[in-house]
């Protein structure tokens, strides 16, 4: 099931790549968009709070003043506050669904996955609390329903709902508590978001600038076209029979009417528990498990350069004094943090095919895909009778390049393109039967192992060690990133590259 969902998602992302380009593709930065929406809601919320009257009698009137009298700013701010919050629900939900579909919730990623679960509760609690403050019909409906819902829990009891029995039962003090909660819960949410990304090296919490501008413009346009409005003021002597529900935040409330509070607690508790245990109960595919063996350091080949330490996107590598080489250090891998991406192998200066050894072993090796296997697969691909072929290195997570193998096109696919040491590109580019080397993989904004494509690009451009040095000439090397459903574009890029190479050689 996941495989077909993955295929569908990748197709959709490919369509977005055409419109937005990979760097602005919103699917690649849903988490960062969630952050952006949070900050939008925060900034607009601070503005609204300046004019908000935190009393039970003054709250509704103050919100109306903000909306009607100051429609050009306060009204837009109010709408933006509401819509940015709603947009956050959508981006966060899609973010969660996408990480699940891509299988990015197990092993080292389990921390981020599990720490994200309470954030869902906090996000909804923050949104629901905000609706109370308007103290209109919707707020009344939510207040009564929530107090009945929470009151079902023995620890709270029926006394909670008595707060909303009559208009006179409510006090300004209680309302001040609601205001406090609407500030405190988002602060806890922010703290949780910080913890959520804490273990991710160079975590991306800001979307691409163009995407921010586009999202903000679209939300402002929505605020102008459909300004947020209040229902009639709350009046506890009448039940709110029809309510303009926010189905993004308040979708659980109709369930309270149909199922009752106990089953709804059961349902939400079950979903929460299911999400928490998912990393342990949803197994990885056999092919993934076979590769998913943590990196191993070979002290004999490790010179302590620390390039792998700098490149590891999961901070799984630390440097310690070398076990037997004086004045040198060596890498150590924490298997609990290692995702077996192999980016460390690609950074190792000893991972070069030019070495004259029986079995090629680098300072840091992936047991699931050792360097010697890469050498053998490269040698096999080179062994064909083709002349002047384009040699393509690709990655298993991006486009499946094995299907591109054809006369004149030689291919080798690695678990991650970041695993490819630049010296292999140099080695292949120098071969007489190779006209050029094409390197492909996931788009840098959407590398499955986060930094494989970006680091490769930087190694090739000389910004990151090990640099690509080739006597064959850098014009014989080309990078073209391609998602799983961008075969046509990659084939066209290969053909165009071939034509350029032929033109140069002619």
């Amino acid at each position: 099931m996941l495989t077909s969902l993955q295929r569908g998602l990748r197709r959709l992302e490919a369509v977005f790549n055409v419109a937005f380009g990979a760097a602005w593709n919103p699917w690649y930065q849903l988490g960062a968009l969630g952050f952006f929406c949070f900050w939008l809601a925060t900034v607009t919320g601070i503005y609204l709070f300046i004019f908000f009257d935190t009393s039970i009698l003054g709250a509704y009137a103050s919100v109306q003043r903000i909306t009607d009298v100051q429609w050009y700013l306060g009204g837009v701010m109010r709408s933006l506050h509401r819509y940015a919050s709603g947009a956050m629900v959508i981006t966060v939900t899609l973010h969660l669904a996408r990480e699940f579909v891509l299988g990015r919730f197990r092993h080292v990623r389990a921390f981020s996955w599990i720490s994200g679960v309470p954030l869902l509760w906090l996000m909804f609690a923050a949104g629901i609390g905000g609706y109370w403050l308007v103290w209109d019909g919707l707020a009344q409906y939510i207040a009564v329903a929530t107090s009945e819902w929470i009151g079902w829990l023995p620890v709270f009891g029926d006394g909670l709902a008595r707060n909303f029995l009559t208009n006179s039962a409510l006090s300004d003090r209680f309302f001040s508590l609601l205001v406090f909660l609407h500030i405190a819960i988002p602060l806890f949410l922010l703290l949780g978001m910080f913890i959520h990304i804490k273990r991710i090296k160079l975590a991306r919490s800001t979307p691409a600038r163009g995407l921010m501008v586009g999202t903000l413009t679209a939300l402002v346009a929505l605020s102008l076209l459909r300004p947020a409005a209040s229902m009639a003021p709350a009046d506890l002597t009448f039940t709110v029979a029809r309510v303009d529900l926010d189905w993004l935040f308040l979708n659980v409330y109709p369930l309270l009417d149909t199922l009752g509070p106990g089953p709804v607690w059961g349902l939400l508790g079950g979903i929460t528990a299911g999400l928490v245990v998912l990393p342990w109960v949803w197994p990885a595919r056999a092919a993934e498990r076979a590769l998913d063996l943590p990196a191993v350091v070979d002290p004999a080949n490790c010179n302590g350069c620390s390039w792998c330490f700098k490149d590891c996107p999961y901070e799984a590598i630390t440097m310690i004094p070398h076990s037997y080489k004086a004045d040198l250090r060596q890498a150590v891998v924490d298997p609990d943090l290692c995702t077996a991406c192999g980016i460390c192998e690609g950074s190792c200066p000893s991972a070069t095919p030019f070495r004259h050894v029986e079995e090629l072993v680098s300072g840091i090796e992936m047991p699931g895909y050792p360097l010697d296997r890469l050498r053998q697969e490269t040698a096999q691909a080179l062994a064909g009778t083709d002349t002047r072929a384009v040699f393509v290195f690709g990655c298993d997570r991006g486009l499946d390049i094995t299907a591109l193998a054809a006369p004149g096109v030689k291919v080798v696919s690695l678990p991650c393109i970041g695993m490819l040491p630049p010296s292999f590109v140099d080695y292949v580019a120098r071969q007489a039967n190779v006209s050029g080397v094409m390197v492909t993989g996931c788009h840098p904004a959407e590398c499955f192992f986060r930094k494989g494509s970006e680091w490769t690009q930087q190694r090739f451009s000389g910004e990151r060690m090990p640099h690509l040095r080739t006597s064959a000439g850098k014009n014989k090397v080309r990078i073209h990133w391609a998602g799983p459903h961008e075969r046509v574009a990659l084939k066209a890029a290969i053909e165009s590259f071939r034509e350029e190479l032929e033109a140069v050689s002619a």
Binding site: V15, F16, V18, A19, F20, G21, P26, R82, Y83, G86, A87, I90, Y141, E148, G151, G157, D158, G159, A161, R162, L165, T166, N167, G214, T215, T217, A218, L219, A221, L222, L225, R226, A228, A229, D235, L236, T237, F238, T239, V240, A241, R242, V243, D244, L245, D246, W247, L248, Y253, P254, D257
Partner: protein, 181 residues
């Protein structure tokens, strides 16, 4: 190569779909929480039942058996009676429950809150409360006919100082809010 205008058009469509979803669902389709011809009755009280037994004077023998610092002449039990609450609408019993006192020593107040939806119009309400296990029958009772408009709320509360059950409706609230005379 896709034309630039086509790319911008694609982006605009994606943004429109995104904020369109937000705009459609945030102030979303109206939800009918209560049918148009129904009203609401909220039965709610917070009350402590009577003590299950009287205080009693300790005998001289009982006092002697105690350490000197614990010889209080009078002992009062803390446990309170459970509340037996019953609500009838148009002579039909719609709610009846015996509610134990709260707390480890069963000495706390009981809070009750029940919400019912009833057809709007005239309804004969009879509510009874028994709060003393040592007495027979119900100690508090109130009956009356209330006219409820659609969505109107009848709150049946308990105010011991006012002598028992209190019926509150919007009409009553409006009357109270109106200037005297």
């Amino acid at each position: 190569m896709t034309a630039v205008w086509a790319r911008y058009l694609g982006q605009a469509a994606a943004y429109a779909a995104f904020v369109g979803t937000v705009g459609l669902l945030a102030p979303g389709p109206t939800y009918q929480h209560l049918a148009p011809d129904l009203a609401t009755i909220k039965l709610s009280l917070r009350h402590a039942g009577e003590l299950v037994a009287d205080c009693h004077e300790r005998t001289a023998a009982e006092l002697t058996a105690l350490p000197p610092n614990m010889r209080a002449p009078k002992v009062c039990p803390r446990e309170r009676s459970p509340l037996q609450l019953e609500l009838r609408l148009d002579e039909e019993r719609v709610y009846s429950e015996t509610l134990p006192p709260r707390g480890l020593r069963r000495d706390g107040r009981v809070s009750v809150y029940r919400r019912l939806s009833v057809p709007a119009g005239d309804v004969r309400v009879a509510v009874k409360l028994k709060d003393d296990v040592r007495a027979d029958g119900f100690q508090f009772e109130r009956t009356g006919t209330v006219t409820l408009t659609p969505a109107e709320v009848l709150v049946i509360d308990f105010d011991e100082q006012a002598g028992g059950f209190v019926f509150r409706t919007a009409t009553q609230a409006a009357r109270l809010a109106a200037p005297a005379g």
